[in-house]
């Protein structure tokens, strides 16, 4: 059974100018020990999906349809008091900016032990020992000494390690990492990715890695889901999606990333930009930018259709009826 199983998730925002549907009919699942990458442009709905799982959607946004199963348990519409027991205990969350997710007024030791004591029956001494072990595990040198340090005494990379230690406090089965490396330098980024990978392998944690950086996905993820304007455009094994993307959007996206040693004068790019939620065209949201768009693309959004390698599916009418394109 998958650790996380989302089916037909819809998230809507009622506004004065009508209802905006930010996420539409999203279905995906993550197995234990697997890292699923979620990529998309800003505003595509990737962070919203992560927030919906942990019950942190900003009102008026809310889940209108669909089911989120965590280890088989429906957590879609749990009351806040129940959700609090799951968040932090079964689901660990890592946010983009490590400085804002740590409280500047408490030492990291206090923050770690408080989280542990909230969810686990432990004595203070046990909690401290566990916290130090966690700090050691995420690669903070001399954790006994650093235990009483404040967040500002750490560098960016070290702070992100503390945040990861916080997420791991109660042996979660699922980690949601929302742009965990975006605020960090490339050299530190590599360290954090290596850490996330090691943790998911060793502890069998299912990880949802939300990012806009294809390089990070290529390196860390086992499978990848590409989101465009609130809908799943393509999902599949990371190597097949990157090496042989099937959805025209994914193809365009991959081509537009500059590569070292490519020596192109002009980069291939997708014309236009992702539509705003209130101006999404009928049918497939990508149709105004797509060179393959045909009649049906303007009428109806495509379901996920098998394309390319095993398990790779693209939401594109081009593949209907087993057709091949490129």
């Amino acid at each position: 059974m998958a650790v996380l199983d989302i089916s037909n998730l819809c998230i809507e925002f009622p506004t004065r100018r009508g209802v905006l549907s930010a996420v539409e009919d999203l279905t995906l699942s993550i197995e234990a020990g697997e890292i699923l990458g979620i990529v998309g442009e800003s505003g595509a709905g990737k962070s919203l999906t992560g927030n919906a799982i942990v019950g942190l959607l900003e009102p008026p946004g809310h889940v209108t349809e669909g089911v989120i199963l965590l280890n088989g348990r429906d957590i879609t519409h749990l009351p806040e008091s129940e959700m609090r027991k799951i968040r932090g205990a079964q689901i660990g969350v890592i946010f983009q900016d490590p400085l804002t997710s740590l409280d500047p007024l408490y030492t990291i030791g206090q923050q770690l032990t408080q989280t542990i004591l909230t969810h686990k029956k432990m004595s203070n001494a046990q909690a401290k020992a566990w916290a130090i072990e966690l700090l050691n595990e995420v690669g903070i040198p001399a954790p006994e000494r650093r235990f009483d340090a404040f967040p500002h005494e750490f560098s960016g990379g070290m702070r992100q390690r503390v945040v990861i230690a916080l997420a791991l406090c109660c042996d979660p089965c699922l980690i949601i990492a929302d742009e965990p490396t975006t605020a960090l330098d490339v050299s530190v980024q590599a360290q954090i990715i290596a850490l996330l990978k090691r943790l998911s392998r060793e502890k069998g944690v299912a990880t949802m890695l939300v990012t806009h950086d294809m390089g990070v996905i290529a390196e860390a993820a086992d499978r990848v889901a590409v989101i465009y304007s609130g809908r799943l455009a393509e999902i599949g094994d990371v190597r097949s999606v990157i090496d042989a993307p099937k959805h025209p959007y994914t193809k365009g996206l991959m081509d537009s990333i500059p590569q070292i040693g490519q020596n192109l004068k002009i980069l291939p790019n997708i014309v236009g930009a992702m539509p705003r939620l209130d101006a999404r065209p009928d049918g497939c949201a990508f149709n105004p930018r797509c060179s393959k768009a045909k009649f049906i693309c303007h009428q109806q959004a495509a379901p996920l259709i098998e394309a390319g390698s095993v398990g790779q599916r693209a939401a594109c009418w081009v593949y209907e009826g087993g057709e091949k394109y490129v």
């Binding site: 290596a194 070292i260 790019n269």
Partner: protein, 331 residues
């Protein structure tokens, strides 16, 4: 100074006083603290070429951009633009002349456009400041021309910045930068706030404009793939100093400085998958930089001399490298 170079930076130093308040300092007998954001930097940019500075955050690349743009007054050193020294430029007319000829594009297209101004006013501001239009009609014509040039439509001038997406806003900033008809553009991370598909559009626009108008770029970025795409020459910075200046092809095929090598190894590789080696450690605090070569604590080739003596830039073929190990032919 060579004939072709448009910008020449010589021994640029940019120090910031970050001492605690006077009373605290006296009571605790603390010394003054100086942050050497840029410490003796020299490079030159040929006319019509792109020179890029790359490095991790806090290495001083944006400070260089701001100093060159005249937003900071340099602690020491010369910034010479087309033969005129920016630091010693006297008289209003001369300063106006220099500042008209260079413009800046900033990282965030959200913070760099005034939300209460119409786009046509934003773009016309430099035209008004430098008095480049004959009358209102002429100004309007110039603004419309600029909008079309950066890939927007003439009618977009009536709108406000919030009506545009990130990529379109960056086009507006480029139009504003071009409106004073500059020869030299300072681009401080112009694409790092944008999504990749939009980043490609903006990079292409910048390349087209360079061909069309013969612009010279000083390009700042932390993304080596973007740098590789856009640059002719590249300077690699570490803690306020340049460790390597080299033509683009040399940097990627034949990196010399150990830091450059390590930086290249840390790039996430899209095609190859997961084989990069994380670089150990982090950038040290620039207020208390390591002695000698500031990279020595992270450098696998460091020896006793590196901890003691600061290396200077020396020429090796087309490249200039500041490294004792390269100098002693140990690597």
């Amino acid at each position: 100074m060579s004939e072709q170079s448009l910008l020449e930076v010589q021994g640029l130093k940019m120090y910031f006083d970050v001492s605690p308040p006077l009373v605290t300092r006296l009571l605790n007998r603390m010394p003054r603290q100086v942050l050497k954001a840029v410490d003796g930097l020299s490079f030159s940019i040929e006319r019509g070429k792109t020179f890029s500075l790359v490095g991790e955050s806090g290495c001083g690349k944006s400070t260089v951009a701001r100093a060159v743009a005249g937003l900071y007054k340099a602690t020491d050193g010369n910034i010479i633009i087309d033969g005129q020294d920016l630091a010693n430029a006297n008289g209003k007319s001369k300063i106006t002349d220099i500042s008209r000829r260079m413009q800046m594009i900033f990282q965030s297209p959200y913070a760099s456009l005034d939300p209460r101004w119409r786009v046509r006013d934003i773009i016309a501001e430099p035209i008004r400041a430098f008095d480049l239009a004959n009358d209102k009609r002429d100004e309007r014509r110039q603004v419309e021309q600029l909008l079309v040039q950066v890939g927007l439509s003439e009618s977009d001038g009536e709108k406000y910045p919030h009506e545009f997406s990130g990529g379109q806003r960056q086009r507006i900033s480029i139009a504003r930068a071009l409106s004073s008809k500059p020869e030299f553009l300072i681009c401080d991370e112009p694409t790092s706030a944008l999504d990749v598909s939009v980043q490609a559009q903006i990079l292409n626009l910048m390349t087209e404009l360079q061909d069309e108008l013969g612009l010279t770029y000083l390009f700042i970025s932390h993304d080596l793939a973007v740098i590789d795409h856009i640059s002719d020459w590249i300077g690699v910075m570490y803690l306020g100093r340049v460790c390597e200046i080299t033509p683009k092809a040399e940097l990627f095929s034949n990196p010399r400085h150990p830091y450059t090598k390590l930086l290249l190894e840390t790039i996430p590789d899209l095609r190859g998958g997961s084989h990069r080696k994380p670089l150990e450690g982090e950038v040290p605090n620039p207020i208390t930089p390591p002695s000698g070569c500031t990279f020595h604590p992270r450098c696998p080739f460091a020896n006793e001399r590196c901890t003691r003596e600061q290396p200077v830039l020396k020429e090796y073929g087309p490249a200039k490298v500041a490294c004792h190990a390269v100098d002693e032919e140990r690597i």
